[in-house]
Amino acid sequence: EPEVTQTPSHQVTQMGQEVILRCVPISNHLYFYWYRQILGQKVEFLVSFYNNEISEKSEIFDDQFSVERPDGSNFTLKIRSTKLEDSAMYFCASLQGVYEQYFGPGTRLTVT
């Protein structure tokens, strides 16, 4: 069964550093999403991406964040200058057209 993959599984970085989280969505899917989950809290939407542009973003997704689909397969989330409060599990999801989003296993980001 096709699945969403994410790399790395765990990223440790120092405050102020840039990080790039990578996702490979399911190949025939059209919509892509990033969510995050701070430890012990609920999953929150960050951004959605369709047709090579952002289709929707939350208030969390400020100028420090950016997304890109650099080629036909990868979907990346960049945090320009990490803060302690960016420490969280980041989930990528993809959707073929409607209804069911498929989630990746997540990347745990630890900012020290």
Binding site: Y31, Y33, Y35, Q41, K42, V43, E44, F45, S48, Y50, E56, S58, F91, L95, G97, V98, Y99, E100, Q101, Y102, F103, G104, P105, G106, R108
Partner: protein
């Protein structure tokens, strides 16, 4: 805007006992409804979903959920819990006006299973 309430933060049940996890949503119409399960340190696995039709939906691992429009609820049930069911459970809603809008999650219910 949609919202989801999971009133129970933590539930403990005995192995073999029945389980019901509550989920209430707020949305102007009937949303798409989902239950996800998350084991410690793991990703989100879809247990079941409701889009339309029969209001009682069956999912994986013996779970089922019932959509009740009058109560704006989508409670998850299992007749006999196994120790491996211990995990965090999240209810989520999606807007029906567009099937690709972001999901809104509840805060989750942590399930502990005791012998």
């Amino acid at each position: 805007a949609q919202s989801v309430t999971q009133p129970d933060i933590h539930i403990t049940v005995s192995e073999g006992a029945s389980l019901e996890l509550r989920c209430n949503y707020s949305y102007g119409a009937t949303p798409y409804l989902f239950w996800y399960v998350q084991s410690p340190g793991q990703g989100l696995q879809l247990l079941l979903k409701y889009f339309s039709g029969d209001t009682l939906v069956q999912g994986i691992k013996g779970f089922e959920a019932e959509f009740k429009r009058s109560q704006s609820s989508f409670n998850l049930r299992k007749p006999s819990v196994h120790w491996s069911d211990a995990a965090e459970y999240f209810c989520a809603v999606g807007a029906r006006n567009s099937g690709n809008t972001p999901l809104v999650f509840g805060k989750g219910t942590r399930l502990s299973v005791i012998a």
